[in-house]
């Protein structure tokens, strides 16, 4: 997967600082030492090295792409999101209430467990925030027995497919021209940690959630 090809067309993946990140990553691999210009880069590169150690040889572009989406986007959005930190005790789970109700109906309990993991991670990622209008997540059991998790925002669509052969399960995120024209998809259980992938995806969503709060 290559999200860093620049052509004479507008880049598809609008991840700021991607090229700089890539240089730092390459330097670590080649020299074994850091030369990160920023603390954030150093942290990301450090965790990438751990990831490589844990998982052995993996597709490097997929590894740093996941972390870039996670850490860099979160860092960029931090200044905007702090005002939404919740001061309430507990957490309103309205947006996932119906999805959890569907969980008990899923016939394949192995797949249902994976869906529950994803919902748990999403809820925990959003727990610090106090958005009033998070749209509902939907869970569907399709005719072939696979599970679709779908989350529709005004400008973004996020989804997960849990397949009968778990290793074929995946995710996608698409946004329109108002939210960066992002097109991202991949496998869920082939290398990157599930929490990392979801953290990345949520970070991309946060911007849209914040803008929705401003308008509504």
């Amino acid at each position: 997967m290559s999200s860093r090809i620049e052509t004479n067309q507008r880049p598809i993946y609008t991840v700021p600082g991607l090229i700089e990140m890539e240089k730092d990553f390459d330097q670590v691999i080649i020299t074994g030492s850091y030369s990160a210009a920023t603390f954030l880069n150093a942290r990301i590169v450090s965790r990438l090295r751990d990831e490589i150690t844990d998982y052995g040889e993996k597709d490097l572009s997929e590894l740093y792409n996941g972390y870039i989406l996670s850490q860099l986007q979160a860092s960029d959005l931090f200044a905007n999101t702090t005002k939404y930190i919740s001061t309430k005790k507990g957490f309103q789970l309205e947006f996932s209430k119906d999805a959890r109700a569907e969980l008990v109906k899923i016939t394949n309990r192995t797949l249902a467990d994976q869906v529950e993991k994803i919902l748990n991670i999403i809820e925990s990622q959003l727990q610090p925030y106090d958005f009033l209008t998070i749209p509902p997540i939907y869970v569907d059991e399709l005719e072939n027995g696979s599970i679709l998790i779908e989350w529709a925002f005004d400008n973004v669509r996020l989804g997960f497919n849990i397949e009968n052969q778990i290793s074929n399960s995946g995710y996608f995120l698409a946004s329109n021209h108002l939210a960066g024209e992002i097109r991202n998809s991949g496998y869920l259980f082939r290398g990157l940690r599930l929490g990392t992938i979801i953290h990345s995806l949520i970070s991309l969503l946060l911007d849209d959630l914040i803008n929705h709060e401003r308008i509504s």
Binding site: I12, P136, A152, V156
Partner: protein, 145 residues
């Protein structure tokens, strides 16, 4: 006619294809796996009507099966052909979809969005999610009358 119009119409058979928050689900655009066996290229199809003129939306909303039942009782949405072309050129897989005309005896506007053989499900979902993101609001027989 070989040229394609600016938009196509996708009829809504199942109510679950439109979510409770009135947003189109990606399920609305998922291709039918059963169509693979009828194609030489092993592609799978999402059925559409090409909006060749101003009557096609109405035609779709009122289209009936052999038992005189509405095929799309839940309405229809419009999808710009530009968006289909955008998916073809701006997705991380090569030529994931194409489109074609496929006239039927009782439907001269019929066509297909064809998903190529071998796509991973998450890529299919990405494409269908993109279509759902960009399609129009739902048109119903009531709103169109």
């Amino acid at each position: 006619m070989n040229e394609y119009p600016r938009a196509c119409i996708r009829g809504i058979q199942k109510g679950s294809s439109i979510r409770s928050n009135n947003k189109a689900s990606l399920k609305l655009f998922l291709p039918d796996d059963r169509t693979k066996k009828y194609r030489n290229d092993n592609g799978i199809e999402t059925s559409i009507n090409w909006e060749d003129n101003e009557t096609v939306l109405d035609f779709t909303l009122n289209y009936k099966d052999d038992n005189n039942r509405l095929v799309f009782p839940n309405g229809a949405v419009r999808l710009s052909r530009d968006r289909i072309d955008s998916v073809i050129t701006n997705t991380n897989v090569s030529n994931p979809v194409s489109y074609e005309r496929d006239k039927l005896e009782d439907n001269p506007y019929h066509g297909n969005i064809v998903f190529r053989d071998g796509l991973a499900q998450h890529d299919i979902n990405l494409i269908c999610g993109t279509f759902a993101l960009y399609c129009s609001k739902v048109h119903t027989r009531q709103s169109n009358s």
